[in-house]
């Protein structure tokens, strides 16, 4: 484990990714304490302020401090996205590994059904689920988790299929081990590495998807300082202040870039061959 970490930090993308994700982690944990202002404090005299002075990143159409809103928004955006990814990954990994192990007709049936579910694009799937359950942050998380499950199942299966053919799995079968042991004890540990890589990269997608749902008015609701929602609100005032729209866009991009870099760094660290 520490060897992987050392290799991760040695590659530039791994080091930068880890750095950005750590920064984001700090913003998520300590954001509310670091924020210089109340994120929802309205100040009519200080509207559309450019960055500088009392307001480090400027203010929005109601004179609310943008930096404080971004820092508070880190929790609503990043934590939700991470939870959604984790749920989707766990569900998908279980389905994919089991299906690959069982093989044969069951595998075929499961995979065809997964293919069918994946014929519905994840954004459309999340839209359908959210509109079915009602607009809220929690429902958006559930919607993203559901939308991610088939994709993760498919990826896990393709990895597990390769593992399934390995000699140590045949050996376990020859020893007469049970299905649960072979899946959990022999196969899952060996498919975990590529799944962690995929999951890290998916957190980036999840942040984007969650922000998109909020942007469309189906995720976080005002006055939550969620980043996608901030962009959607700022669009109406685009001509009065570019900063309001630029900062949340940068925040979303930074988080996504961070997780993408970390995922790629992890891929290299876990697979030293390349």
């Amino acid at each position: 484990m520490s060897e992987v970490l050392a290799r991760l930090v040695r590659s530039p993308q791994g080091a930068i990714g880890l750095g950005i994700v750590s920064l984001v982690g700090i913003a998520v944990v300590a954001g509310p304490w670091l924020a210089p202002h109340d994120p929802n404090a309205i100040s009519i005299l200080a509207r559309y302020k450019p960055p500088g002075g009392q307001y480090l990143l400027g203010t929005d159409q109601l004179g609310r401090d943008l930096l404080s809103r971004l820092l508070h928004g880190a929790q609503s955006t990043v934590i939700m996205a991470a939870i959604a990814t984790l749920c989707g990954t766990v569900m998908g990994a279980l389905i994919g590994t089991t299906s690959a192990y069982v093989g044969g007709r069951t595998d075929d049936a499961v995979m065809r059904t997964i293919d069918a579910v994946m014929a519905i694009p994840s954004l459309l799937m999340s839209l359908l689920v959210v509109s079915m359950l009602g607009r809220s942050q929690a429902n958006a998380v559930l919607a993203i988790a559901i939308a991610f499950t088939p994709g993760m199942a498919r990826i896990t299966r393709s990895v597990a299929l390769a593992v399934r053919k390995q000699d140590y799995v045949s050996a376990a079968i020859a020893r007469g081990e049970g299905t649960a042991y072979i899946v959990m004890g022999e196969m899952v540990p060996n498919v975990v590495a590529p799944i962690i890589v995929e999951m890290t990269i998916r957190v980036a997608f999840s942040v984007m998807l969650f922000a998109t749902l909020s942007f469309l008015g189906l995720g976080a609701q005002p006055p939550t300082p969620e980043w996608g929602l901030m962009v959607s609100e700022a669009r109406k005032f685009m001509h009065l202040s570019t900063w309001m729209i630029l900062w949340p866009c940068c925040a979303i991009a930074l988080v996504a870039i961070g997780f993408n870099l970390l995922g790629d760094g992890l891929r290299d660290a876990l697979n030293p061959r390349t």
Binding site: A119, P121, F215, I245
Partner: protein, 315 residues
Amino acid sequence: MSLAYALRRCGLMVYTLLVVSIIVFGVTQILPADAAVVLLGENATPEQLAALRDRLGLNDPAWQQYARWLGGVLTGDFGISVRTGQPVLPTILDALSRSLLLALLSIGFMLVIAVPLGIAAATRRGQLGDIAFGIVSYVGVSLPEFVTATLIILLLADTFKLLPATGYVPLGEDFVAGLKHLVLPVVTVSLIMVAHVSRMIRSELVDALHSDYVRAARMKGLPETRVVYGHALRNALLPTITIVALDVGYVLGGIIVVEEIFAIPGIGRQIIIAIQSRDLLMIQAGALTLATTYAVMNFLADLAYAVVDKRIQYE
């Protein structure tokens, strides 16, 4: 690729569509809106509601409603839109033609840029060009469509006043104006895909270039172009076909947002409007149409996969 494989795969596509239709119907069944209330408004009397439910067959068991709906879909009758009072099918087909134009232009534009870019980066691994490519593509995949679209409008449409920011003009009406309106949406949709696909090609090609068969080909004394294009690229493109097929699903999802932002009356916009107005039949038809398009694309991708990799059909 054998005919039997193609037929079997075709059968699977039909199964896919069946499952999709069940999901789409199932999801919209659980929508918290009562179709009868939507049709008659909040002020309808209970007697009116009961009569309408009876007439629409809303009291029948779910499977009977599903069978009736599917029967209609198969004969081209998607029902009447609650919102507009018009038949659903013509509206959907109209919207689909606009969306397909946008999607196909974007995918074509993407492939022309992504494939050479990925190859160039992989063969120059670690050099300045590869690093610059890495940075730009990271930023590319890390921007959701709504951010890309907003930034592009901010920059190209507002700052330079080069292109119209939103709206749609049919190509048949005014070709030049229509094309101008399509530029920004197409750039937005393809941008993230370019980053995604070229990154995939690069990483697969880097893997392939480190494999034993490439080493063997080099030791045989083959010229480097033969090694890259004849041996490594062929294997690197395999996963890429799947990724592109998956990306089609992503495009179809992405155009929902892009159409909404650029005000293109395509199928994505139609679905959002339908969700907002609880137009059940329109949601069902829109989702089913998008999913069908994707399933057909996926089917074609699998056939292509089988042509490139002969091992596939034996598995």
